[in-house]
């Protein structure tokens, strides 16, 4: 009996001691260079227009496929409007993207051919003022833009045609989310 008690204590001591040392080691690790991101930050980036993302999050969103997949799903679940890929146009640039309740129209600038107007209208819910826009490319990367306040239910942007954001919006294979 005493022998069994001794063995039990020995097993317990070994297990508890090991567990404490392993816990210490896990707690003292480093998050650097693993490509993992904080879910809280990823959520804030998806829903809060004023959130300033860390370089680590932006890097992971550009390079880590699992993070890109997670973020895309998060946008699907949290964005107010989702504008899917555009059906292939017969020729030339697309003129608008549309989904139920929301429309994004593109108009070339007459003053400057290198610029383009982007007009966002949320006709489904006029009380909703989108604050942030995401453009998700087929390769998994995401572009994000903080939006100005809507005037008479419309948001108008003037973008350089060669900017990543304009190119993304005009690319029929991208998907657009508004939050």
């Amino acid at each position: 009996m005493a022998e069994q008690a001794g063995t039990t204590k020995q097993h317990f001591t070994q297990a508890a001691f090991d567990a404490l040392l392993t816990t210490d080691r896990l707690m003292a690790g480093t998050a650097a260079d693993t490509g993992l991101v904080s879910p809280t930050e990823m959520y804030a980036y998806a829903v809060d227009a004023s959130h300033q993302p860390s370089p680590g999050l932006l890097d992971a969103l550009n390079t880590q496929a699992p993070v890109q997949a997670s973020f895309r799903r998060l946008l699907n679940n949290t964005a107010r409007y989702h504008l899917p890929q555009v059906a292939a146009a017969s020729s030339g640039d697309i003129e608008q993207r549309e989904s139920e309740g929301c429309k994004i129209a593109f108009r070339p600038s007459r003053a400057n051919a290198a610029q383009i107007y982007v007009i966002i209208e949320c006709i489904g819910d006029t009380s909703f003022n989108p604050a942030v826009l995401f453009v998700c490319a087929v390769d998994g990367t995401t572009n994000r833009m903080e939006l100005p306040v809507a005037q008479n239910g419309r948001i108008q942007l003037l973008l350089e045609r060669e900017s990543d954001m304009a190119k993304g919006l005009l690319d029929i294979k991208t998907e657009v989310y508004l939050k």
């Binding site: 001691f17 567990a19 693993t34 997670s70």
Partner: protein, 543 residues
């Protein structure tokens, strides 16, 4: 696992798990750390003990609570990622803010209650910080997409208890699979073998808490430090790491001895022969073993919440001195050695990492920067500081009419006679009967009445001293305007409990455990010894 290559592989795999936990520890919300040290440690214990399944089940119920207990257009993520720092009060406030919950959800004072058609379930607010950290872990480790997919059956309408259990089981399987990849099995961890063996060999009879002493720590470090790590990858090069290992072992052994004394058995599962440990029992035991860390952890949380009871340096002093009563008694010299020479070694290692070739002999000859007597004086000053903070907390809590003020009064003045408060003169005299006439509420009311009226009595004087102490402190949380805020008063309440415990432990450490040691002689002997060991470890290296 035997070959060096396999060891390396294991280290690499574990690195991702470490990173997951590190991310959670560093996560911020509303400009403060989202999870307390205590919550992070609890999460790490769940994972290490592989006792996550019950918490995953609770988490799934909390997801249901978040979906059907919040607003109609909100998803479960909002509770976990947009409710601010993960504190019980924050979760309580989040649920209380909604008025249009599903009829199956009852928002109580201590918990949310979910009335499923088949079986009800309750989740307490106190448990929610840990469950939120677990959600964070699952999202980081498993990924949001698979997690959300698994939870999707809970989203279409109030699920049954069984559906929640099924989702929880599914998630637990995914965690099991993840940990299979990233956490070595228990029998392969055995990190402690070398030190345990050493301590056992040194014990004349059976290894016990009382057989581990300052010599065990120092001798082990002297003999093993130049090996870089022990046979299982534990850092034995730094004195600090060896000290921490010894402190853990003292606590584990003391716990085991106490359990035997009280129950005649240890809670370790059923298969004694193979040494199988029940994960739940082990985790419960570890939580109790780590209980002595809670007061300091609580103080840390109070500081994070905006009441600066300690600054960074003061907290460091407390952390280096306080390791629980058992460790304080068993390893008093080691605690001071860790403070003085542990710091010296850490500085040396940092200098080696930062700079190129260094004049190591010169650097080592200049160590340590501090000595034992200086540290003792600093700890004594911390007693004064803690007393000031207790007085200030008393002032805030007394003004707010909080019963904790009485506990602080007794802690500050153990001789304070307030026994008469228990007896209302208008109550009948029960004489020799066994009826105890003590109505706590009335006694508290009389305590505060006395505090107001009795300017020249002991309580009145205490009140005046406390007011002066509060006004003399110019730190965050100590202004007149801040002390009117309910959230700040709540933090002072938490601080009061922690301050009483920390003050008591530090007083005992100073008066009982280190008072009789000849520190002047010891620093002379130790300086020679540590310099010699540092020269062995680093003297030949130039960057």
């Amino acid at each position: 696992m035997g070959s060096p290559e396999n060891r390396f592989l294991e280290e690499g795999k574990s690195a991702e798990l470490c990173a997951c936990l590190q991310i959670i520890q560093e996560t911020t919300a509303d400009d403060s750390l989202k999870y307390s040290d205590k919550t992070c440690r609890e999460l790490a214990r769940l994972i290490v003990c592989r006792n996550y399944a019950p918490a995953v089940l609770e988490l799934c119920h909390l997801v249901v609570g978040a979906i059907y207990g919040g607003s109609h257009d909100q998803r479960y993520e909002a509770l976990f990622f947009a409710s601010g720092p993960a504190r019980a009060g924050g979760f309580r406030a989040w649920f209380a803010a909604f008025t249009d919950q599903h009829k199956a959800i009852d928002i109580g004072r201590q918990e949310i209650f979910i009335s499923y058609a088949d079986k009800p379930f309750a989740v307490t607010y106190g448990r929610m910080p840990l469950l939120s950290a677990l959600m964070e872990f699952l999202m980081t480790a498993i990924g949001y997409a698979p997690l959300d997919e698994t939870l999707s059956p809970l989203l279409g309408g109030l699920p049954s208890h069984k559906q929640v259990s099924d989702a929880a089981n599914d998630l637990s399987r995914q965690v099991y699979s993840y940990l299979g990849e990233h956490l070595p099995p228990v029998q392969e961890q055995r990190k402690s073998q070398s030190f345990l063996q050493f301590a056992s060999d040194r014990a004349a009879a059976e290894l016990a808490a009382a057989t581990i002493n300052d010599d065990t720590v120092l001798d082990y470090w002297m003999a093993h430090a130049d090996g870089d790590s022990d046979d299982r990858g534990v850092d034995v090069k730094t004195y600090r790491s060896v000290f921490r290992m010894a402190a853990h072992l003292v606590r584990v052994l003391r716990y085991a001895e106490d359990q035997y004394r009280m129950n005649g058995a240890l809670p370790i599962g059923t298969d004694f022969e193979s040494g199988e440990i029940d994960p739940g029992d082990l985790e419960t035991a570890l939580a109790e073993i780590e209980l002595p860390d809670q007061p300091l952890s609580a103080l840390h949380n109070v500081v994070s919440a905006g009441v600066k009871i300690t600054n960074k340096r003061e907290m460091e002093r407390l952390q280096e001195a306080l390791h629980g009563e058992d460790v304080g008694r068993a390893l008093p010299k080691s605690i001071l050695r860790n403070a003085v020479f542990g710091d010296a070694q850490a500085g040396l290692v940092q200098a080696l990492r930062r700079a190129g070739p260094l004049p190591m002999a010169q650097l080592i000859a200049a160590l340590p920067d501090d000595d034992y007597q200086t540290r003792r004086k600093q700890y004594s000053q911390m007693i004064d500081h803690l007393q000031q903070m207790m007085l200030a907390s008393f002032h805030v809590l007394a003004r707010a009419g909080k019963p904790l003020a009485a506990s602080l009064a007794i802690a500050l003045h153990p001789d304070l006679d307030i026994s008469d408060l228990a007896q209302d003169p208008n109550e009948p005299d029960w004489g020799d009967s066994n009826v105890v006439s003590f109505h706590a509420e009335n006694a508290m009311a009389r305590f505060f009445e006395r505090l107001e009226a009795d300017d020249n009595g002991e309580l009145g004087k205490l009140s005046g001293t406390a007011r002066t102490a509060f006004k003399s402190i110019s730190r965050q949380g100590f202004s007149q305007a801040e002390m009117e805020r309910a959230d700040i008063v709540e933090q002072f309440g938490k601080a009061a409990i922690a301050l009483i415990a920390v003050h008591k432990e530090l007083s005992r450490f100073l008066n009982n455990h280190i008072a009789s040691i000849d520190w002047d002689q010891l620093i002379t002997v130790d300086t020679t010894l540590f310099r010699s060991q540092f020269t062995t470890l680093y003297g030949g290296q130039n960057g």
